[in-house]
Symmetry: C2
Subunit: 153 residues, 2 copies
DNA sequence: TTTGTTGCAAAACGTTTGCAGCCTC
DNA sequence: GAGGCTGCAAACGTTTTGCAACAAA
């Protein structure tokens, strides 16, 4: 059910966005996009920056600059989960999903629920034009529940 | 429909939590709770810190410390919306609601939707115990849509 | 040629931490 | 009296910014 999207396809989307907004098509920007394309789950600016070093040297400033652009053209989604750094996630070729976040260990899991998705997506507003949404369920994962039972005095 | 909760009531909840966890009942903690109680919508650590200065002088460290405690006993909820500072919100005497966030001006509006709420709350997980959730819808508010139309070349 | 973009480093930002003194318990 | 809590300021880690050099258009 999950549609496969090739790098060429998203590169096209990005190029189109850059052209439309009169931004330059620099090799750095495409290198970053390609690196992001290679990740499966969530990633952050630091992982991206350090992961690319060997292939194509870009500065951290350029990484942030490009992440900004990719958000604007909706190729990635930004999540602010922990108090620390922002997490990013591919938004192409990925089924809509929601997040389970353990408030104890911070682990993030994903799940899909058609009923929830439909309920949210069908909601319309008179004075607001929705582009995307994020749903976070906070609680305890099974591992942390078990640990708490053990350490119970 | 919205139940009114008095300061005395939440003070009681907080006191109970402090006692159970062997934390001290300091005047600073109650002063912060009272200040939070006076706010209507969202607030952040800085607003709280500066807003209290005249009434009761507390340090920023104590503000953060107390916000941590209030989260633990579920009297407040923490939101990480912008890339900047964390937002907080009262969690007592407030109906469950969801958030509309303008990606252009950053303004946050609240809305309620029974269908969405029920869909989310009725979802059960085998390996996860949900305590609360946050739903953020991102998009453009009417004001920003209008402004974009005007400045269109 | 123009000017948006880069890399670098310094600065900014909210938040956390270390520590001496204070005040609940 | 003991030790958790406070205030202060310095430290932290992520993100942003200033600026000269560079390169896409």
């Amino acid at each position: 059910m999950k549609e496969e999207v090739s790098y060429e396809e998203i590169k096209e989307i990005f190029t189109e966005y850059l052209r439309k907004h009169h931004h330059r098509k620099t090799p750095e920007r495409y290198a970053i996009l390609q690196q992001i394309y290679s990740y499966q789950g969530h990633f952050n600016a630091d992982v991206l920056f350090n992961g690319m070093k060997s292939d194509y040297r870009v500065s951290l400033a350029t990484v942030y600059n490009t992440l900004e652009l990719l958000q604007a053209c909706k190729l990635i989604i930004k999540h602010q989960l922990g108090g620390q750094f922002a997490q990013y996630e591919k938004a192409f070729g990925t089924a809509t999903h929601h997040h389970l976040i353990c408030t104890n260990c911070g682990k993030v899991k994903e799940f899909s629920d058609k009923q929830i998705r439909v309920a949210i997506q069908s909601r319309q507003f008179a004075h607001f034009q929705t582009s995307h949404y994020s749903l976070y369920l906070f609680g305890l994962c099974s591992k942390c529940i078990d640990e708490m039972k053990k350490t119970k005095s």
